[in-house]
Structures are given as structure tokens and as C-alpha cells.
């Protein structure tokens, strides 16, 4: 996607990438997230990108000459992060900190306290309800913002 210049192909490649990401998420047992990524990433994002491409009339990106500084910067960032990732816990380690703080309480008491077997829905709507309220307001703000930006000039 970085090297492709035709913008329509870039958007199609992005949709394929989102679907593949959704498949990987299913393999990682994240079924709720995979459904959302497939619907939002491959569905809504692609529609919005195609709409924007139509409105801007863009076909091709310009050729990039000598992107040496960004390339060097990216490689340096990759090296630093790669060295840092060696200190992180190994894949699928049950003793990692991510599994031992508040999650056992959600998994053990969640169905009993909320009556909902889907722990992700219970945490999303009940235990972490404030975050979901904020997220809903963000979606509303995006809708309102796009209305404010694009409202004029209706189609005749």
C-alpha cells in the first residue's frame, strides 16, 4: 500500500487488509472485536474513503522523490521498539500482569453480578460504562462535525 500510486487500488487493498485483520482477530479469540473490525474497518471505512475519493476527484498520488529521511526514521523507530519488545512477556503467558489484576474478578463474578454470559458485553456496558458513554459521544461528535463541514451545496 505504501508503494501503490493509484488511489482506488490503495482503498481496495485497505479493505482486504481490514478483512485479513478481522480473521487474525478471530484466531486470537477476539470475536467481538473481529466483528466490529470487519463491519467498521472493511465496511464503513471503505465507503467513506470511496466517497472522499469521488469528491476530491483524485486518481493518483504524486511520485515521491528520495524519501530517505522518513525511511531512516522508520528504521530507527523499528529498531528501538524491537529492542524494547524483548522485555515484554512471552506470548500466551498465564502469569503475565495482564491476566492477574482485575480480570479474574470479571471472569468469575461477571455472569453472576450482571446476568450476562458475554463478558465483553458485560464489561463494556456495565463495569466500564463511562468509557462507552464517552465513545458514544465521540461518534455523535464525528457525525455532527461532518454535518458542519459538509452541509452546504446540496445536489440539485
Amino acid at each position: 500500500m505504501a508503494l501503490q500510486r493509484d488511489l482506488f487500488s490503495v482503498v481496495v487493498l485497505f479493505a482486504i487488509y481490514s478483512f485479513l485483520m478481522a480473521t487474525v482477530l478471530v484466531a486470537l479469540d477476539a470475536v467481538d472485536v473481529a466483528m466490529t473490525e470487519a463491519a467498521v474497518g472493511a465496511g464503513a471505512s471503505t465507503v467513506l474513503l470511496l466517497g472522499a475519493l469521488h469528491l476530491t476527484g483524485a486518481r493518483e498520488a504524486k511520485r515521491m522523490e528520495r524519501p530517505l529521511v522518513p525511511l531512516a526514521l522508520s528504521i530507527v523507530v523499528a529498531a528501538v521498539l524491537g529492542w524494547g519488545s524483548l522485555g515484554l512477556p512471552a506470548f500466551s503467558d498465564p502469569g503475565a500482569p495482564i491476566h492477574t489484576h482485575v480480570v479474574p474478578r470479571y471472569l468469575n463474578d461477571g455472569p453472576r453480578e450482571t446476568g450476562v454470559p458475554n463478558i465483553v458485553a458485560a464489561v463494556l456496558a456495565s463495569y466500564r460504562g463511562y468509557d462507552t458513554l464517552g465513545e458514544t459521544v465521540v461518534v455523535f461528535a464525528a457525525g455532527a462535525g461532518v454535518i458542519a463541514l459538509l452541509r452546504r451545496r446540496k445536489r440539485r
Binding site: 466483528m35 463491519a39 467498521v40 465496511g43 467513506l48 469521488h54 453480578e113 456496558a125 456495565s126 462507552t132
Partner: protein
């Protein structure tokens, strides 16, 4: 696209099933993957699909703009309203266990209404985003008309 008979027939056949699937995903969130966000996007995708094939006018007949804008804002109000209901019934903001005599049933009720609020906002937002992008004129001179 509305001149192509295959697309027309398939769109009219599939639209109710897509909406039904969105409602299934919404209400079955307790037992399987799903919830307000996924259901909202699927419902919006159904109407976008219809409006892609039959044109924006037909899509606006199916979902008038004022209803879509009301859904967009109404979802947030429903969510905040559940929180206020928790306040009025004696607990803190967004407490669910006060909504019913049995705390677990109160949680269930709270989660149900909160997910409805999320569904309304997400469906309204996705649909509005599409109509805004698709309904704008593509003009080259950059002049604006009055608001």
C-alpha cells in the same frame, strides 16, 4: 444502478434480512459476540446498500434526514438518561443495580437500554456520514453558497 434488474431484485430481497440480522446481533449480545456497535453498523450498511442501488432520493425516502439526525442525538440522550435514572432512583450516576428490585435484573435492564442507545447513535452516524459524502456536489470553482 437501478436499471440492472438483478441488483434491484437482490437489494429488495436482502434488505429486510440485513435489518433483521442487525437486530439479532443487537439482542443476542448476551450470549454471543455482538452489541450496539456492530448492530448499528450493520443496520446502517443495509440502508446504505439500498441507497447505493436505488439512488440517494430513494434512500432518503426510506430514512428521512430528520429521523437520522434525531437518532444520532437521541442515542446519546438515551445513554445519559439511563445514568440519570440511576441517580433518581437512589444510586450514583450510571448505577444499574437500583433499576430493579433484584440487582442482577437491574444490571440486565441497564445493559439493555444502554446498548439501544449505542445502536441508535452508531446507526444514525454511519448513515449520516454516507449521505453527507454522497450528497455533496463536486464543483471545481470552490465557491460557497449560503449556509
Amino acid at each position: 444502478m437501478k436499471d440492472d434488474i438483478i441488483l434491484r431484485v437482490v437489494a429488495k430481497l436482502l434488505l429486510p434480512f440485513m435489518l433483521l440480522f442487525a437486530l439479532y446481533v443487537q439482542f443476542h449480545a448476551d450470549f454471543g459476540p455482538g452489541g450496539g456497535f456492530q448492530a448499528g453498523v450493520i443496520a446502517a450498511a443495509a440502508v446504505i446498500f439500498y441507497s447505493l442501488i436505488f439512488g440517494l432520493r430513494a434512500g432518503e425516502r426510506l430514512a428521512p434526514p430528520w429521523i437520522v439526525e434525531a437518532m444520532l442525538a437521541g442515542g446519546v440522550l438515551v445513554y445519559a438518561g439511563v445514568g440519570v435514572a440511576g441517580l433518581l432512583l437512589g444510586g450514583n450516576y450510571l448505577d444499574y443495580f437500583v433499576l430493579h428490585a433484584d440487582p442482577a435484573a437491574g444490571q440486565h435492564r441497564g445493559i439493555f437500554w444502554v446498548e439501544i442507545g449505542v445502536l441508535l447513535t452508531v446507526a444514525g452516524a454511519m448513515l449520516k456520514l454516507y449521505t453527507m459524502f454522497a450528497g455533496r456536489d463536486r464543483n471545481e470553482d470552490g465557491e460557497e453558497e449560503g449556509a
